[in-house]
């Protein structure tokens, strides 16, 4: 099956993304498996009920598997447990937000998923591929935009994208066209011939998006994509992410500490604090849940995601969140974009 699936599958899965953790989730996924190309009823049944023949599993892997599965993901730096027994599923096709303050473990979790940090086999899977045993297949599915501004300032916009076309083995005859499409998708066609050091912060972020898109990833991972950007550039970056996603159906995993952005743009969010997930669901569910507990029913009066976060994190945003180096790297990025 091609990465971006058939027309029938998409709205169903989109529905599942929005319906959240409801009991309907399992049914929906069986439905997706059944409508996938070549998957007959029996295979869908096997997929839903558990292990089957290897071939069948491989077939269904593409149709119904979650984009990311973390089971008991733990990562420690010396004495510090950055990620603590994290269980997480990102569904195919959704925009999933990993939220939390500096030092919550978001970036470490992302670095485990992107194969940058070594984790024991079985902890992280990307579309069914183990991030430790099958590094190269996992990397071919990923588009990654790290928190730092990672475009090469000594190259033009086009050359920056070309590099990623080359290292993802885009055939030469289609390289120029693909690079042009990626640049067009982020509105950088006119600036493509300029050195990246002349770009504004928002343009660099869009360039990085183009670099990630040129290999047609099924999973786009963005680490703090709007950090340090002004509100207009933030909106523009998000609009491009959404437009590309709408056109390609890719899954987006994004970390941010801007709760308002998550509320606005994510299908589901996980609130992370000190290496653990404290709440998971659609932004609306989480806000309504807290509103219910507080006895608020007026839609206009509902608590914000930030209130939810303060609620679930307890003592929450204290002095321990984010050590010196976290803050320094965040500020460095922020000062370079503005």
């Amino acid at each position: 099956m091609t990465p971006h699936t058939t027309g029938e599958g998409e709205p169903v899965r989109q529905g599942s993304g929005a319906s959240g953790d409801g009991p309907g989730h399992g049914e929906v996924r069986v439905g997706v498996a059944a409508t996938g190309p070549g998957a007959d009823d029996v295979q869908a049944g096997v997929a839903a009920t558990g292990p089957g023949a290897h071939e069948v599993q491989a077939e269904v892997t593409d149709a119904g598997t979650d984009a990311v599965t973390c089971s008991g993901l733990t990562y420690t730096f010396g004495d510090t447990t950055a990620v603590d027994a994290l269980d997480l599923s990102v569904r195919d096709g959704e925009v999933f937000g990993l939220l939390g303050p500096n030092g919550a473990g978001k970036t470490t979790a992302i670095r485990c998923i992107t194969t940058l940090l070594p984790v024991p086999a079985g902890m992280v899977r990307v579309f069914g591929h183990d991030a430790t045993r099958e590094r190269m297949p996992v990397r071919r599915l990923l588009g990654y935009v790290p928190q730092q501004l990672s475009a090469d300032s000594g190259l033009t916009g086009r050359e920056n994208v070309e590099l990623f076309a080359r290292v993802f083995d885009v055939p030469r005859r289609e390289r120029a066209a693909r690079v042009a499409e990626a640049l067009a998708a982020v509105d950088l066609t006119e600036a493509a011939g300029r050195l990246a050091k002349t770009y504004s912060g928002g343009m660099i972020r869009r360039l990085e998006l183009a670099q990630a898109l040129v290999s047609a990833p099924r999973l786009l991972i963005l680490d703090e994509p709007t950090i340090g950007l002004d509100p207009i550039a933030r909106t523009s970056v998000w609009e491009h992410i959404n437009a590309v996603r709408a056109a390609t159906g890719m899954t987006v995993l994004v970390t941010t500490h801007y709760m308002d952005e998550a509320d606005q743009y994510c299908d589901r969010v996980a609130l992370m604090h000190r290496g653990r997930i404290h709440a998971l669901g659609t932004p609306a569910q989480l806000r309504a849940g807290l509103g219910e507990r507080r006895g608020v029913t007026e839609p206009g009066e509902l608590p914000t995601l930030e209130d939810v976060f303060r609620d679930v994190a307890g003592s929450g945003l204290d002095d321990k969140s984010g050590d010196f180096s976290d803050v320094r790297s965040t500020r460095r990025t922020a000062s370079r974009v503005s």
Partner: protein, 286 residues
């Protein structure tokens, strides 16, 4: 694709609607096996050439130092005839040494560059592409070789202008190119290995300066090994720069050289360097 966004989402789609994303819907076919390495080396070399094209000033400023070495040191020592060169003018004797030196200085810079790329996030992103670490390091090593080669051409032209009598035999010049690339690949890997150990730019700059001088003076670049004290001769024998200079002298000037040994030692050194730098690259990713 009929997609109905279920979550409340703002205007988005009509303001930033990408046109013609057809190619971006299909992942490119994966290169596998032995084809990956040359492809990545090609990619890294392409970036190097693009950067040089945008910033030619570096090429010119880097030509100043070798020119001064040849002009001042070379001309002076040619006149005082203090160094036994086996009958050729000292400036001729010196020229291959200066070619090797300027190539080494460029290559040693690569460790600093990889730390800078780590800090900037460029390296991080490359490590998430289907590029094995050894292929990434090999690519960087050969990019260093390419840059050093361009530098070598500049130095050869300067030397020729100063009247150094060198060969113009294309086969010999091809041999020179191979030697320059292999030597630079080794020194780039040496520096990237140290980068993988010390991890910060400041420490690497200090170490880089501390090792380039002994590498240069502890080689046959300026004087024959025979005039050195015994202990320095031992060091010189273990110094890949000596083999590089020996081969360059043999090829460019026709002096007696141990070409097979030189190529062998440099190829082995480059291989070991790629191996050690690749094994330590993971430390830079953390």
């Amino acid at each position: 694709m009929s997609e109905a966004p279920a979550a409340p989402r703002p205007v988005s789609a009509d303001r930033a609607r990408p046109v013609g994303l057809d190619l971006l819907l299909v992942a490119p076919p994966a290169r596998t096996g032995w084809r990956v390495l040359p492809a990545r080396v090609g990619a890294m070399c392409a970036v190097e050439l693009q950067k040089l094209r945008h910033d030619r000033a570096e090429l010119y400023t880097r030509a100043v130092q070798p020119a001064l070495w040849l002009l001042i040191f070379g001309e002076t020592f040619t006149r005082i005839q203090a160094i036994p060169t086996g009958g050729i003018p000292y400036i001729d004797y010196l020229a291959p040494g200066i070619i090797a030196q300027s190539a080494m200085f460029i290559a040693i810079f690569y460790g600093i560059m990889i730390i800078w790329e780590r800090d900037a996030g460029i390296l991080t992103k490359l490590l998430v592409t289907p590029t094995p670490r050894s292929a990434l390091i090999t690519g960087k090593a050969f990019a260093a070789g390419l840059k050093a080669l361009i530098q070598a051409v500049v130095v050869i032209v300067i030397a020729a202008l100063l009247g150094v009598g060198m060969t113009w035999n294309p086969l010999r010049l091809l041999g020179v190119a191979v030697i320059v690339v292999l030597g630079s690949a080794f020194f780039a890997c040496l520096s990237m290995t140290i980068a993988g150990i010390v991890l910060t730019r400041d420490r690497l700059m200090g170490i880089g300066q501390a090792i380039t001088m002994p590498l240069f003076f502890g080689s046959n670049a300026l004087y024959p090994v025979d005039v050195m004290p015994g202990w320095l001769q031992v060091i010189s024998k273990a110094n890949p720069l000596s083999y590089q200079v020996d081969a360059l002298r043999g090829l460019l000037l026709g002096t007696p050289a141990h070409l097979a040994l030189d190529y062998g030692v440099l190829a082995l050194a480059a291989g070991l360097g790629i191996w050690s730098a690749s094994s330590l690259l993971g430390r830079l990713a953390r």
